[in-house]
């Protein structure tokens, strides 16, 4: 519990109310789609030779689906722990700008650094997108409680999903398994577009979609970082030009 009981003001009932409001997002379309994406992950973990306990533990310890998939992919290719660690680290660099963008919105006037460092572990695409869309409607000094509820309930729910579907993953017909896999990009695509606040975000998204696969062919390993910096940089340049015209 980061701060639900230490701060005298606002009181515990307020915090609990907003914690539960945040946790309520676990019954929503984005959460449902994230659950299905984790069904796909459970099957992949099984293929990679990860037993059930560690597969569930990955959700708790990593909590970033691209990083989890990269870890399994590297394990399946027979990579050693150093190579696996390097691949996961590269795929997780993208979390830094996401956290930078969200922290100023979560932070209230009395929020402790420790609270933010604990909450940061829950930041991944789904909770990030939900928070960017909803956190503005939460009172500023209760946003940490809200996000704690949102992030922890999503994590717990997905640990349960991986645990349940690890057992049945093998029995799914191929078209169903492939269709489930498609849910993840479809969800990221629509929710990310919806979360974009300024035109720069939409330009960045289109550029990233194209640059990711292109760089994957020409500079694998640097594809995500390269696409982010080039795509984001170009989108921001367009934003500056647009602003100068006005």
């Amino acid at each position: 519990m980061p701060d639900n009981s230490v701060l005298p003001d606002p009181d515990f009932a307020d915090r609990r109310h907003w914690f539960l409001t945040g946790a309520g997002n676990v019954i929503s379309i984005p959460a449902l789609i994230l659950f299905t994406a984790h069904i796909g992950f459970a099957g992949l973990a099984r293929e990679a030779g990860m037993t059930m306990g560690p597969a569930v533990f990955m959700v708790l310890a990593i909590w970033a689906l691209p990083g989890m998939v990269v870890l399994l992919g590297a394990v399946m290719s027979g990579a050693g722990i150093i190579a696996v660690a390097f691949a996961v680290a590269l795929s997780s660099v993208r979390l830094t700008p996401m956290v930078v963008a969200l922290v100023p919105e979560l932070r209230g006037p009395r929020t402790s650094r420790l609270t933010l460092y604990l909450l940061a572990h829950f930041i991944a695409v789904t909770s990030w997108v939900i928070a960017l869309q909803t956190v503005r409607h939460v009172p500023r000094d209760l946003r940490t409680s809200y996000y704690f509820g949102l992030g922890s309930s999503l994590m717990l729910g997905n640990m349960v999903v991986v645990w349940l579907f690890y057992l049945v993953a093998e029995d799914l017909p191929p078209v169903v398994a492939a269709g489930l896999f498609l849910l993840t990009p479809m969800y990221f695509l629509t929710s990310l577009w919806g979360a974009g606040r300024e035109r720069a975000a939409h330009i960045a998204m289109v550029l990233g979609l194209v640059l990711g696969p292109v760089l994957h062919i020409f500079a694998p390993g640097l594809d995500l970082l390269g696409a982010g910096l080039i795509g984001g940089g170009l989108a921001y340049t367009a934003h500056l030009f647009e602003r100068r015209k006005r």
Partner: protein, 116 residues
């Protein structure tokens, strides 16, 4: 050292902590450190959001073009067409996420059985 090189119940957990957690959480902590120095209406956040968005978009593009598991056995044409159709419906239906996803999945299954 690989996942299979130590035969003990705790090794996969330690492997995940070292290769997964210790390589992921520090990026989040760095974000808190940097984000603590910035106001939430700062102009620099437009750039930061653009970079983060392009990064996640690159993950999407790679998932569609270079998937793993059972989806790797389908054609890239089918995956791109299904996703594009779903997004178009989302875009023109007043941003209905679920509608877009259902169209993409339906198109994918139909295309799969048509042998695309």
């Amino acid at each position: 050292m690989t996942l299979g090189s130590i035969d003990a119940w705790w090794w996969p957990y330690l492997f995940i902590l070292l290769a997964g957690c210790a390589t992921t959480y520090p990026w989040r902590a760095l974000g808190v450190y940097l984000g603590g120095r910035i106001r939430d209406d700062a102009e620099i956040l437009v750039l930061v959001r653009a970079v983060a968005t392009a990064l996640v978009a690159a993950v999407i593009g790679n998932l569609v073009c270079f998937p793993s598991g059972p989806a790797a056995d389908t054609t890239v044409t089918l995956r791109v067409a299904a996703v594009a159709a779903g997004f178009a419906v989302y875009f023109f239906s007043g941003r209905k996420v679920l509608t877009g996803i259902i169209v993409a999945e339906a198109g994918f299954v139909i295309g799969f059985y048509l042998g695309i």
